[in-house]
Symmetry: C2
Subunit: 225 residues, 2 copies
DNA sequence: TTAATAGTGTCTTTGAGACAGTATCTA
DNA sequence: TAGATACTGTCTCAAAGACACTATTAA
């Protein structure tokens, strides 16, 4: 019988915003296969472990991101027979998308000290291991399109944020400018997208109202790019 | 080392429309695991085979659907450690969504003679094998939401179809009535959704214009349920 | 006061939805 | 002709987008 037995990898496209630009977490591979190449954080499922659990575990081990730091969702699976020829066994990958707020840098001295946040354009320029460039492209496209109809933009922000920070997420991920007035109206008009805390943040100009995440998950009608 | 090795199944939520109602293909299991239970068509990946290829192969073997009969896309992967305890090895499933036009019935005497098109409500009523009920629910939800922003409704129809047939797809999948006038305007107004062939189909009333699939894949702005 | 940032008001255009009305066939 | 199905026209309302304007702060 030539039924396949395979190793299962969980690989993660972890995205965040730094200085108004979309960044992805990359790690320099230490394992024999593709050693020294840049790759998405990830690793093999263990006995008794789900792919989601493995994704969380690898994010913690390799990037220093804890479960509560990220919003994780499944992206897709990659199963081409030749996608990874460096292992002794066939490897399929289940990819996840993780969105995180900008956080203090990864801690040197841990496994994560070979992890790096890289602007996505630059990341696609490095020749990534295996088919990780394709996975990264798919992850970016998923993030872009999910902003249209889901409230996940807040996953890129700390618990409290201003309207211009929220708008900044859209502008950075979509690479466009949005009209502040219309954006405000749209967000406020979507019940449960954000909640006004009544607090204000002072900066260079007029203080900005501070919002928290509401309980809505879907945007209806959607925002358009 | 307790790295997992697993069997990979490709399981397919194959949907079609019959008599204005959404149906899913189910098969009665012959294999030892869950024998006699109804399940989604699917099976294990072979050496050297991608999950997509396995999905097409199983559709052909078990349901008699050829590659050109369906539009196939990946749905999600299911990896819970206890999702399938009947096999000697851990099994993860990569699920696909397949949309097909209503076709002549499956051919008895082949492997497909234990396949059946079942209305989706009834299918969810049968206690399906493994976690196939969850996969089916996810597939239906995917089909419903993709109708909003993609032109896949045509995958449920033969190459030539009328506007009311296209509207019927939306009405059946969404379970709503749509205004013919507004639906027409919307579809015609979406460049490349459909192409008027100039032909007409005669029936009981005024002949209907016949359309073909256009080359657009996205609906912008989306249709709303 | 000026520059910077936040936020409001309003006008125009577009599209969604409701629905009345017209067109063209079969029986 | 009646009934059935296909299609068009038009009105109203809501939201999107453009953009001028007001508000509140720091320097």
């Amino acid at each position: 019988m030539d039924r396949l037995t395979a190793w299962i990898a969980a690989d993660v496209v972890a995205l965040t915003l730094r200085d108004g630009e979309l960044h992805v977490a990359l790690v320099k591979r230490k394992a024999r296969a593709a050693r020294g190449r840049w790759a998405l954080p990830g690793g093999f499922l263990l006995e008794g472990e789900s792919a989601e659990a493995a994704a969380y575990r690898e994010l913690a081990e390799e990037v220093g991101l804890r479960r509560r730091d990220v919003r994780l969702e499944q992206l897709a699976s990659y199963t081409a027979p030749k996608r990874d020829t460096e292992h002794p066994k066939r490897v399929i990958s289940i990819a996840y998308l993780a969105l995180a707020a900008d956080l203090p840098d990864t801690v040197p001295g841990t496994d994560a000290d070979e992890a790096e946040w890289v602007p996505v354009e630059a990341a696609l320029g490095r020749r990534l291991a295996f088919d990780h460039a394709q996975i990264l492209r798919d992850g970016i496209e998923r993030a872009r399109s999910k902003l249209e109809y889901a409230t996940i933009a807040t996953a890129f922000l700390p618990p409290e944020f201003t309207m211009s920070e929220l708008r900044g997420v859209y502008e950075a991920v979509w690479g466009v400018r949005l009209d502040p007035a219309n954006f405000n109206r749209k967000v406020i008009g979507t019940d449960g997208f954000v909640v006004d805390t009544g607090e204000q943040r002072r900066g260079r100009g007029r203080p900005a109202a501070i919002y928290r995440v509401g309980d809505a998950t879907r945007l209806n009608p959607p925002l358009t790019r």
